[in-house]
């Protein structure tokens, strides 16, 4: 499955941020988004995930192939690590959460309530969720925030494994993950007033 964006214009609150953005990501490749704060990386990722509609242009395939990972992990503090993962796995029709737990070394924390996890551990749990969605395109927004060097490496390995299986990853990040893919600097696409006409 190839991710294609054609002449995409995205924005927030009625104001376009990025205009006329086109790119293609082949299976097994990653696309790293770069740009300063507020340059529209998050908005672009949310549009690719179907959380908001593009102002113009189109994205293929639709949101049903995309797993979104935002700033917040969406994990419930009152449930254990395993319960949280099982919930998302069940929602996506996946049974086995073992591989996801193993990918981030979460087995020992399995029965810990999510509210007792440290920021980094919580982040690992949030990223492990991607594995139980079973979707081929990952749209990740600053996934390595609060991860230490070791777990950043684990994360890079997880994404590499995903790419090796024919998956696609679109990642907004400021660090170099050493992934096989292209880098897209969003700055040149900044929406200007004449682009609105």
């Amino acid at each position: 499955m190839t991710l294609v964006a054609r002449e995409l214009t995205v924005g927030r609150g009625g104001l376009p941020i990025l205009a006329r953005l086109s790119f293609t990501v082949e299976p097994g490749r990653a696309l790293i988004l770069r740009g300063p704060n507020g340059s529209g990386k998050t908005t672009l990722l949310r549009t690719l995930s179907g959380l908001q509609a593009p102002y113009e242009g189109e994205v293929e395939p639709g949101p049903e192939a995309v797993a979104y990972g935002g700033h917040r992990d969406g994990m419930k503090g009152q449930m254990t690590v395993a319960e949280n993962l099982s919930f998302w796995a069940g929602l996506h029709g996946v049974r086995d959460i073992e591989p996801a737990l193993r990918a981030f070394d979460l087995q020992r924390l399995e029965d810990r309530l999510a509210q007792h996890l440290s920021a980094g551990q919580g982040r690992r749990l949030g990223l492990a969720r991607l594995l139980v969605t079973g979707r081929s395109i990952w749209c990740l927004d600053e996934p390595t925030v609060s991860l230490d060097a070791e777990n950043t490496g684990r994360f890079a390995d997880m994404v590499r494994g995903h790419l090796a299986g024919g998956g696609i990853a679109v990642i907004a990040t400021h660090i170099d993950l050493g992934l096989d893919g292209d880098t897209l600097d969003v700055r040149p696409y900044k929406a200007t007033l004449e682009a609105l006409e």
């Binding site: 908001q52 949101p63 979104y68 935002g70 969406g74 994990m75 009152q78 929602l91």
Partner: protein, 213 residues
């Protein structure tokens, strides 16, 4: 299912509505005096208003908590339609507030000197009517989820929509208590609930889509 487990565990969410209902019911005799002649006629109305306010108490938690921790975004991208999600949320809300209130209302009727067959009619009317309260509330919560401090606005939006349910529900309980035929208001109450069930999950899902943007 997750919401149910969460509501039970979050401590405060579950049971809070029920305790509120209990306190309102117990307070009324202090306010208007303990005479049976005065309490009995207003008992159905008091119990229904109490149930309504108790329902309102936990409404703003329905979507706000999921939005705060980002789970709402993830749920919206999950392979279940938002309509199904809102229906599940309303069901969980009803199971944690409407259902316990309906069961507790019959014994609480004793505090308010509700005449005997009225207890059953009261519980029945609440059982039929409270799902509508949860569904309407779910719609209101979806509308206000994007707003900070939306709780107050939610109450102002939702309370007027509760009027038909309150009118028919209290009427069922009153007629039941007076030994009159309560079938007609009960049928109308059921119709309100079914109407909410048929339409509001779609409206709530549409409201959620807008506020996710």
């Amino acid at each position: 299912m997750r919401d149910l487990a969460l509501a039970v565990r979050s401590g405060g969410g579950f049971g809070l509505g029920l305790v509120f209902f209990l306190i309102v019911t117990v307070l009324v005799p202090f306010g208007v005096g303990p005479e049976t002649a005065r309490l009995a006629p207003i008992a159905p109305g008091i119990l229904w208003v109490g149930a309504l306010l108790a329902c309102l108490l936990s409404l703003d938690r329905i979507f706000a908590l999921d939005r705060e921790d980002g789970a709402l975004d993830l749920l919206a991208t999950a392979p279940i339609p938002l309509e199904g999600l809102t229906l599940a949320k309303a069901a969980a809300h009803w199971l944690t507030t409407g259902l316990p209130i309906s069961i507790a209302a019959a014994p609480l009727g004793v505090f308010l000197s509700l005449p005997w067959p009225g207890h059953l009619w009261l519980s029945l009317s609440l059982l039929v009517g409270t799902p509508a309260l949860s569904l309407i509330g779910c719609f209101g919560a979806a509308l206000t989820v994007g707003l900070r401090r939306g709780g107050l606005l939610l109450s102002v939006l939702v309370l007027p929509l509760y009027i038909p349910t309150l009118v028919f529900g209290a009427d069922v309980a009153r007629r039941g208590a007076e030994g009159l035929d309560a079938a007609t208001p009960l049928a109308l109450l059921g119709a309100v609930t079914l109407g909410c069930l048929a339409g509001l999950p779609f409206a709530a899902a549409a409201a959620l889509r807008v506020s996710l943007r």
